[in-house]
């Protein structure tokens, strides 16, 4: 049974191990002692702070209850851009038209903004390749919505998630080549490295005035808001929950930012409290996310459930044990997947 729970001090070795597996595209968790240590420290601080912190990184791991192995990680930043500015390009439209000449031009523009300042952010999602089956990716990603639903006062009413931008077979981003490169003396690889460390550097050098996209290369224009192939499933998952591309992109690779009001997210909106009845009968219903109401002892797993009455569900002892709940405990549930498709 897979369970998602807050990160703990003794997860250090597991986290270090995950960092070795992520690969170069996953900039937020690398094979890097210092980064892992910093990350762990931030994650622990979030769950142990006395009052509600303004800026906190809530980090969770997914653990196999049978083997105690940590196979995945996910996180939520409570608020971005409050220390260093948080930059995006916003894709806008300008119409240049002359009635007299019967000319009508619709021009797409890019403007640098900090509009998402203070928003909460879904971040740091990684699942080891071996564990990528049986909807375990969905559990890992969506467990965060259950946490958000339970502790809304710890988060902004707006939630964003950045999608990695398109790059070609040789790993080069046409968006960077067509725009950023002109303002730097750096090639993509070097800029990529800097970008992963601190995007403020990039923003300082990017043009401050609105860019007319029709002056960019075709490749750069086509990359605006385009998701990297490897990230497309993650995007689909979030879109099915109600997150939307609203015209904000990464200043570096042009990847889209998805956005939603927390209260409009399906898993949050449709989740409800029920009491549990524990019984060793195989449940036959739809698969649900089930999470506890505790903060530092938060647990989330997925399981088919049976309804045992209005507001009572039946779960197996296995599940109860993974969640650390007893008979009549209150839990939050929501169907793992939405019926709707977007």
């Amino acid at each position: 049974m897979m369970v998602v729970r807050p990160i703990q001090a003794n997860d250090h070795e597991a986290l270090r191990e995950l960092g070795r597996k992520t690969g170069p595209g996953f900039t937020s968790l690398q094979d890097n002692d210092e980064q892992v240590a910093t990350k762990l420290e931030a994650g622990l601080a979030a769950f142990t702070a006395g009052s509600v912190p303004v800026e906190a990184l809530y980090l969770f791991v997914m653990e196999d209850t049978e083997t105690q192995e940590v196979v995945g990680i996910c996180g939520i930043e409570s608020a971005v851009g409050l220390s260093d500015p948080w930059y995006n390009y916003r894709v806008g439209t300008l119409v240049h038209a002359s009635r007299e000449l019967d000319v009508y031009n619709q021009i797409s523009t890019l403007t640098i903004t900090n509009d998402h300042t203070g928003y909460s952010e879904l971040c740091t999602l990684f699942l080891t390749p071996e564990a990528r089956h049986s909807k375990q990716g969905s559990l890992l990603s969506k467990s965060r919505f259950m946490f958000l639903a339970e502790f809304p006062q710890r988060f902004n009413e707006h939630l964003i998630a950045e999608m990695r931008g398109y790059s070609d077979e040789s790993g080069v981003s046409p968006f960077w080549e067509g725009l950023g490169r002109h303002f730097f003396s750096l090639d993509f690889a070097e800029a990529d490295k800097i970008s992963s460390m601190d995007k403020v550097f990039i923003a300082e050098l990017m043009p401050k005035n609105t860019i007319y996209t029709n002056l960019l290369s075709k490749g750069a224009q086509d990359s605006i808001g385009k998701t990297h192939e490897a990230t497309t499933p993650a995007r689909r998952l979030l879109e099915n929950e109600g997150l939307r591309y609203t015209g904000y992109i990464d200043i570096f690779d042009g990847g889209p930012t998805l956005e939603a009001r927390v209260n409009d997210i399906r898993a949050i909106q449709e989740s409800q409290y029920v009491k549990v009845h524990i019984a060793d009968i195989p449940p036959d219903g739809e698969t649900y996310l089930i999470s506890t109401t505790e903060f530092s002892q938060f647990r989330c797993c997925m399981s088919p459930i049976s309804r045992a009455g209005k507001n009572v569900i039946t779960i197996t002892p296995d599940v109860a044990s993974a969640l650390n709940v007893i008979e009549s405990s209150t839990v939050r549930i929501v169907p793992l997947s939405s019926g709707r498709r977007f």
């Binding site: 007299e100 000449l101 000319v103 031009n105 303002f183 300082e204 043009p207 007319y212």
Partner: protein, 337 residues
């Protein structure tokens, strides 16, 4: 002999011929009969007007071949531009993009649409038929205007500009236009130029980019053409620079040709031309004779040509005096070439 004189309504056909062979690259000379008529009309009205404070007057002159009466060149001066219709330029500014942490300090040029030359006087509409394109004729055509200005300084703004046509390929396509203007205007260069010429109000404001355009995002050809005159404009450029004109990083919004500027009162023809009286005589040659630009001091009957004379004791033949509408002892204005 070639003679400069103000436009008259009889010049319409000759002007039209020049407009056509200039190939639509000159904003102020569109091949449009109504507009050319208006050009003549404005010149006549401007010349007649008693000016105490200059405004939107416009003076155009033709170069007439006295042997056959043909119009072989045209030139003009606007007393001050941007009064009735906005006058746009691109100013090439540099924006610094720096990061102390990255040790990067980039100066990025960007084009700012501006109207900074609003209110300046302008030398304009310079076109000389190919068959007559000599340095001397160019001097006559271009500098005769300045002689007119020297004689009537109160009619012109203190700042003076001249726009040089920008780089174009053999098919008359401007790389700058192809890269920038075309995206915003959805038409070809010639048409855009033509529409500007016939004063289609506001269409530039409606269609042009309002935000600065970063030069590094332009094509290499477009970048290379920034502030560069068309090769056949080099003589004109040299002439203007000798007069004291400078390039101050303002370029034409369509073809990125450079705009040169000077203080009106400081240009050479203004400071070095002198007013004196003429003696009508044999005009026979002497050692002291040099080529000078000579004009009468009139307005509606302004005449100007190049002749050899002794600047200390100006004397011309009766034939030349007649072309210049001069009687013995009349005032003239001259400058050595």
């Amino acid at each position: 002999m070639l003679l400069i004189r103000p436009l008259t309504f009889a010049d319409l056909q000759g002007l039209e011929r020049l407009a056509v062979i200039s190939g639509g690259r000159m904003t102020t000379l569109p091949a449009n009969r109504d507009h050319l008529n208006e050009l003549i009309n404005r010149t006549r009205q401007s010349l007649r007007k008693e000016v105490t404070q200059y405004s939107d007057e416009s003076y155009h002159f033709v170069l007439e071949d006295q042997t056959n009466g043909e119009i072989v060149g045209v030139c003009g001066i606007d007393a001050s531009v941007g009064i009735n219709t906005p006058f746009y330029s691109y100013r090439v500014d540099e924006v610094v993009h720096a990061s102390s942490e990255l040790q990067i300090h980039n100066r990025i040029p960007a084009l700012h649409l501006c109207q900074d030359y609003t209110g300046s006087a302008r030398l304009c509409t310079l076109f000389l038929d190919k068959d007559h394109r000599t340095k001397e004729n160019l001097n006559l055509l271009s500098r005769s205007r300045m002689l007119f200005m020297a004689q009537h300084p109160e009619r012109f703004a203190n700042k003076l500009i001249a726009e040089l046509q920008g780089v174009a390929d053999s098919a008359n396509r401007s790389p700058f236009w192809e890269c920038l203007g075309r995206h915003f205007f959805n038409m070809d260069f010639t048409k855009a130029n033509y529409l500007t010429g016939i004063n289609s109000k506001g269409f530039i404001a409606d269609l042009m980019p309002h935000y600065p355009v970063y030069v590094p995002l332009l094509s290499d050809e477009a970048q290379a053409s920034l502030g560069q005159p068309r090769p056949d404009m080099i003589d004109v450029k040299n002439l203007l620079e000798e007069e004291g004109f400078n390039y101050r990083r303002y370029v034409d919004i369509f073809d990125a040709g450079p705009t040169l500027e000077a203080r009106t009162q400081d240009i050479r023809t203004m400071t070095q031309s002198k007013k004196c009286t003429i003696n009508i005589g044999s005009g026979s040659s002497s050692e002291k004779q040099v080529n000078v630009l000579i004009s009468n001091t009139e307005r509606e009957n302004f005449r100007c040509l190049i002749v050899k004379l002794d600047p200390q004791q100006p004397e011309i033949a009766a034939e030349v005096a007649s072309l210049l509408h001069l009687n013995n002892g009349d005032n003239i204005r001259i400058i050595s070439l």
